[in-house]
Symmetry: D5
Subunit: 158 residues, 10 copies
Amino acid sequence: MATTPKILSTLPNVFTSLHEAKIKSKLTFAQLGEAIGRNEWYTTAIFYGQARPDKSDVEKLSAALGLQQGFLEEAFGEDFFPLRGLGEFPPQDPVLYRLYEVIVVYGYPLKHMINEKFGDGIMSAIDFEGDVEKVKGSQGEDRVKITLNGKFLPYRRW
Amino acid sequence: MATTPKILSTLPNVFTSLHEAKIKSKLTFAQLGEAIGRNEWYTTAIFYGQARPDKSDVEKLSAALGLQQGFLEEAFGEDFFPLRGLGEFPPQDPVLYRLYEVIVVYGYPLKHMINEKFGDGIMSAIDFEGDVEKVKGSQGEDRVKITLNGKFLPYRRW
Amino acid sequence: MATTPKILSTLPNVFTSLHEAKIKSKLTFAQLGEAIGRNEWYTTAIFYGQARPDKSDVEKLSAALGLQQGFLEEAFGEDFFPLRGLGEFPPQDPVLYRLYEVIVVYGYPLKHMINEKFGDGIMSAIDFEGDVEKVKGSQGEDRVKITLNGKFLPYRRW
Amino acid sequence: MATTPKILSTLPNVFTSLHEAKIKSKLTFAQLGEAIGRNEWYTTAIFYGQARPDKSDVEKLSAALGLQQGFLEEAFGEDFFPLRGLGEFPPQDPVLYRLYEVIVVYGYPLKHMINEKFGDGIMSAIDFEGDVEKVKGSQGEDRVKITLNGKFLPYRRW
Amino acid sequence: MATTPKILSTLPNVFTSLHEAKIKSKLTFAQLGEAIGRNEWYTTAIFYGQARPDKSDVEKLSAALGLQQGFLEEAFGEDFFPLRGLGEFPPQDPVLYRLYEVIVVYGYPLKHMINEKFGDGIMSAIDFEGDVEKVKGSQGEDRVKITLNGKFLPYRRW
Amino acid sequence: MATTPKILSTLPNVFTSLHEAKIKSKLTFAQLGEAIGRNEWYTTAIFYGQARPDKSDVEKLSAALGLQQGFLEEAFGEDFFPLRGLGEFPPQDPVLYRLYEVIVVYGYPLKHMINEKFGDGIMSAIDFEGDVEKVKGSQGEDRVKITLNGKFLPYRRW
Amino acid sequence: MATTPKILSTLPNVFTSLHEAKIKSKLTFAQLGEAIGRNEWYTTAIFYGQARPDKSDVEKLSAALGLQQGFLEEAFGEDFFPLRGLGEFPPQDPVLYRLYEVIVVYGYPLKHMINEKFGDGIMSAIDFEGDVEKVKGSQGEDRVKITLNGKFLPYRRW
Amino acid sequence: MATTPKILSTLPNVFTSLHEAKIKSKLTFAQLGEAIGRNEWYTTAIFYGQARPDKSDVEKLSAALGLQQGFLEEAFGEDFFPLRGLGEFPPQDPVLYRLYEVIVVYGYPLKHMINEKFGDGIMSAIDFEGDVEKVKGSQGEDRVKITLNGKFLPYRRW
Amino acid sequence: MATTPKILSTLPNVFTSLHEAKIKSKLTFAQLGEAIGRNEWYTTAIFYGQARPDKSDVEKLSAALGLQQGFLEEAFGEDFFPLRGLGEFPPQDPVLYRLYEVIVVYGYPLKHMINEKFGDGIMSAIDFEGDVEKVKGSQGEDRVKITLNGKFLPYRRW
Amino acid sequence: MATTPKILSTLPNVFTSLHEAKIKSKLTFAQLGEAIGRNEWYTTAIFYGQARPDKSDVEKLSAALGLQQGFLEEAFGEDFFPLRGLGEFPPQDPVLYRLYEVIVVYGYPLKHMINEKFGDGIMSAIDFEGDVEKVKGSQGEDRVKITLNGKFLPYRRW
């Protein structure tokens, strides 16, 4: 189906099936997130093999999408650990590139602010959560608001 | 001075002078931002040649840092237009890498959410603002909260 | 069919079908563009998965190409969002390379002119339209005239 | 001077001097182009070492910028032939990247249109001219209009 | 068949068929070139999808190779435009590498001689023809003599 | 001097001096070649550090350019062995790129013709000579004719 | 001094001074580590700008190396935050390459073991410590024993 | 099966079968290591084609996994020699990247310590063994402890 | 069969068949070399498509491996010319990497010695032969002795 | 001095001084090797910073080259450990490239022969020695004979 994102061909087939089931269900990621009690971003990440749902997430997801029992359970069993990272970098798609551009342009200023505010350390990308919101700007325009929220991890002295 | 970030050597000398003046002033980027009436991130971006302050920003910055009149005015004159982008990618520094990793891991899910919420288009990296905050997590831990806020730009049909 | 461009093998099958239908129809992109009320360039971009036709475009395209009802409608449904970007860079094909060469040679001069005329900002590649025309030069020679037309987006100060 | 574009450091010193003289003269590229009887784009290309002015261009440019006689004449003598191409690709600067993105996204459609309209051949990047204009869009917005105009060169059969 | 060059797997199947037919026919490229009234190099380029034979070339080639009528005609129809460029660079195969090495070692001297003899411009790779000959050296040794012959294209001033 | 090719900055200073002496002498490479009894291409290669003149070449070159005795003799002494190869690949300069493009497009056909005519082996880039000529085409146009002439080296079976 | 590692030229001068002082002092990293109460590895990392010593470390290091008071204090002031990462990858030096090879060969098995033992998460490179020891093998041979010890960071579900 | 690591698709099918048998057996690598009398890391490396089990290892592994006799014996016969190295570098998966980051950040310090302790030479990655342990940190936190243990190989003087 | 080297999948199928026949025959490359009257290295190169056996080699190889008449004859017919070069560089496999490392570390010294001993020229990789031997070192250890033997080709002056 | 190899500019100055002293002394590497009792290759490697001479080597080298006492002693002191690896890969210089080509073409056959003769393991590039000889071929031609001789290191099972 042309509507299935091309990048899925680099992932196991179960992810294509997941997307097809979602398209058929006409549910959004936000609705699916509610159905399984997880954040929208996290839920979307499951659909791209970038997060590891627990057993209960999988059951609720199966129910929400009307999938046959056992189908997701087998794919996301105890032995499933995501191999994270998708596509090539720098990305060619303009949506992805703009996110990348923010880091290319503002990476060093961000490092400096983090160091100045927190000391020597990093923002974790593991103990991490995020959000995508649709907000209105001062001119009434639609704006994409993305929040990254990661634990500060100070460098250990030893 | 060892405390001047190494990346500055790839920029004109005025940026090294700016950083040295800031170190001497003992002001933080947040304090400098307040002094010139700009956001902290934006102010930091000026220090790395990634933003273009207007005339009034430059005057206030000179004042706040106790710089000789005319010094910044000349460097950030009408003819100054930043050549944006710093360093090589993928970055080796762990602070920068974690930001990059967020895009590598969550880029496709973010694209999908943006498309689902907004339609066919992108988050602008030009009509863009951002914030870095120090917040507390539910375990009392320090967390880095980064907000990206860009105008949604729909693809034009023509 | 050898006449189907090789790059299509990196796109979903529907795009190969589209090209085959066009070849059979003996219609040019300009004629197809007229048939659907879109610019020739934009119409061609649809055939390479680089633009997202709306519902009415799809219906008219199906009609113009004599495609079975529902075939394109399913492929270009609500869930279809192009993953833009095709092929590897720098390109080896001489037609593509000459376009690339224009940027390699004249990129910095273009940036300087845009900044001088408009201030700090960019030409949008999203709120963008373009044209390809066949014109005559002063020696009577055929010339390719390509017009890029993008909204100027000023950098936001915040 | 910070206002001199960073990329000039990869070119012979005469180009930095040219830019400094232009800044001092407060003339735009369009005005300089008029002064020497050349297109604005072409004039800008001279300032970046991407075009080769003839003797008369050099004399008029010297006059317009109030440069000492002989200074440019020596630099752009008979032995000067530009080594064209500037910077690294893909570019990180957003202005340059948007131009590059147009090729990444629309390159194959452009090739197809050129082939369909002209047959087997290319648009020359040598017998080439271009223009940058500031135009108004239908919403009254500023738009960057870039025109590429190159001779069509058919592949020779032999 | 092991004797079919490996690179053909990156081209449409018709090119493999062409090579197989040639092997069966025991004709050389030089003989095939004579049969269709084209240069040997040009004829070989057709076999690698790097040139676009016209209708008459295709008919004569079909005849010379004893191919079924319509087979080549369909593949090299009006809609066929080569996507030129083959393999990865730098090449690993020693025959290809030596050609590449000539450019790596003598590229700048060649540019200087062309500029000195012709002025500012290039040798066209489009209005181009070439030859490969087997000649004897002064020691009686076999030598490969390759001739490149391209129109000189002066840079346009505008 | 701006007229000295930029690439020379990657070579020892003697090569810049050589070019400056040539510019002052107003001799062409062809004339210098005659003066030292070497081919024009070979003579040019000496100026770019890509060939190793013998003692007699050096003496004649010193004389032709009016250089102080001993200057070249020391630089091109017995201990001088060129480190061949100049610049980065793929090249950005259009003159260099067209030469490169010939290999990118016609490399495999050339390999096939060489193998068919000579058997398993290569054209040497060491026991090699070449020529650049200015010739007239059938339309009276200037054409660049480059001849590559290398010994055929058959693969040894052992 | 030839004995100063070449990579230091990419770091601020203070690091060269540090190494020169160490060479003069004839102290090993292990001895210096003891002197400042830090692990040998950590101490070495300070010498390469890969760790951020605190105020007390700096004072003790100055004392141990007999450095002038204030010299290190200024370089490692509050404003110093390491830009981590050194050299190019893959590394050419065989000592560095062997470490890299261990990851190239055993990376996936290590990921699998970590996932199997700990669940979905990573070994932190921030809350990290390490050791290098000289041990004897069963044949009496010297062996390098390197211990990596990082906090396990489980992926957060949100 | 989604639970089979994606990287296995680049290895012969026998490795996928091995992983499937392991999943079905519910044995851990540590348990399998015990069953065949090998270290856990070494055992895992066999599953990824990065180590070469001997005949007795293969027999015990077949038994532990309940595999049909002869199945592994054929795959790991006398002619099997691993082609070592997996995936692309730098790795995108965060578990792999953190291991890589340790080398990027601490590579030069490690080289210096090894040279200082052992003299001029390397840690072998061939006469090598390693271990992964789950240990408790001083705060009670889980920590990943990885030990690399390679023979020191002094450079030979000759 | 897992024992067939993975790299063969990038070559025509006949090479996999060759390896399978060799495994079945239990003959070593040295024995096969003797059977066909060729050096062991050369014989191995045939198995990897890196050398071109003549008609008699092919007949003897068929006999030695008990292959059906005509099978190899067709694959290695007159039209077969190896496309040389295998795998990606730098190589990840440690056996291949060590060979590569010898060039990375000792390349410039080797160039200097060759130039000093022979003058300006190269060691041919075409008129080339080599050997691999198992020898004993002074400590009784096994050593790999690889001999490269190529004709010296002096640069031609012309 | 032009005769000093260009690559030396990437090494500490002492190596340039060494080469200049050698040129002045008119001694060959072979003669210098004899003078210090080391192999010619090893001696050359010292001149390129790729080997670490011991104290006695350094003294003898100083004597042979007539260098001031202490000059080399300081540079090659106890703290000197070579950072091995020179230049970029793949190399452009034809002498270096031919060595590289041997690995590109014959790497896999060499791996197979080594594995077949020795089992699972590698040829060490550390416990390694080599030789370059000038020999005569069967046609009386000069041939370069390079011998690589490294200890076989079997993979350890653990």
